[in-house]
């Protein structure tokens, strides 16, 4: 993933905080935040994940004029090979998100404008009990501010399974 411009916007931060059930005014109230230790509205610790909104090539968002693989008239509108599948930030393919790690270099504030670049990390394999062979892969993403300073380093681990795991 490469993000050329990920602006940290007040409305987006408020909606994200709501979606994780966090009523803390530090994520929406200018006056409260201004008088606090951090001095400004900040973003919740997992907010950089929402940088996906600013990634043109992100496969898990419907795009105008492009067929979506979710249900419409039929349960899916795409053949299996062309579905981006799982991989909520972790892997991609038919994968799932296995781990997520963040290092915070400073608090992320509304008004910051980030860029991000990702690079692949380690890859490894494991034999799963129920899902067959498990293929793990790491992605490291550095989020930098408008001055080129590192704000958050994210490390995601995605896993691809051979079979759907029955509940």
């Amino acid at each position: 993933m490469t993000l050329e411009r990920f602006p940290i916007e007040a409305g987006h931060v408020m909606l994200f905080a709501r979606s994780i059930g966090d009523p803390n005014p530090i994520y929406r109230d200018d006056e409260y935040a201004g008088a606090s230790e951090v001095g400004a509205i900040i973003a919740p610790p997992t907010f950089v994940q929402a940088g996906a909104q600013f990634d043109d090539s992100y496969p898990l968002r419907p795009k105008i004029g492009v067929p979506w693989f979710g249900s419409g008239r039929a349960p899916t509108s795409a053949p299996r090979e062309s579905r981006p599948g799982g991989g909520s930030g972790g892997g991609g393919g038919t994968g799932l998100h296995a781990e997520q790690h963040y290092l915070y270099h400073r608090a992320l504030r509304v008004g910051d404008v980030l860029t991000a670049t990702s690079r692949p990390g380690e890859r490894w394999e494991k034999e799963g009990r129920r899902a067959g062979r498990l293929l793990f892969s790491e992605t490291i993403t550095e989020f930098r501010d408008q001055n080129g300073e590192l704000v958050v380093t994210a490390r995601a681990v995605g896993v691809r399974t051979e079979r759907v795991v029955e509940a």
């Binding site: 059930g21 951090v38 693989f69 930030g89 972790g90 997520q100």
Partner: protein, 140 residues
């Protein structure tokens, strides 16, 4: 409110309920805010008929986000140095989740004391859905 190192002890634990009866709508709300609209999380028809799961399920990052809320409520705003963990089991609509943070270590650093926490989020059956860690600056 930030934590004060002088009032903390290694082994101390803190718990909070982070969601009760998780709704499909909250999962969709998270999809909209995060930008991850994977139909595995947002589309019951796709999740059950195409992939064979019993229903849609929450994004791992929604569970981590709710866990993070418990942590920032505990340590204070803008104080985290690291936060991470593993997604161990799926979180389904209707689940209740509780996060427990335990103090593993408290140590002094140039910028002030730092607390190391281990984190565990479990569902209503006591099954672990997320385990991880956080480190945070605290007051002296």
């Amino acid at each position: 409110m930030a934590l004060s190192a002088s009032k903390l002890q290694v082994g101390q634990t803190f718990s909070a309920v982070v969601v009760e009866d998780l709704s499909r709508t909250q999962i969709v709300q998270y999809a909209g805010a995060s930008g991850d609209y994977n139909p595995l999380h947002t589309d019951e028809t796709f999740a059950t008929e195409v992939t064979g799961y019993p229903s849609v399920f929450a994004h791992g990052m929604l569970t981590m986000g709710m866990t993070g809320r418990m942590v920032t409520d505990l340590v204070g705003d803008g104080r985290l140095q690291s936060f991470g963990g593993r997604f161990l089991s799926q979180v389904w609509p209707g689940d209740d989740l509780t996060t427990t943070a335990s103090i593993d270590a408290i140590h002094g650093e140039a910028g002030g004391p730092v607390v190391e926490l281990s984190l565990r989020t479990v569902n209503q059956d006591g099954m672990q859905v997320f385990t991880g860690y956080a480190t945070s600056r605290v007051d002296p």
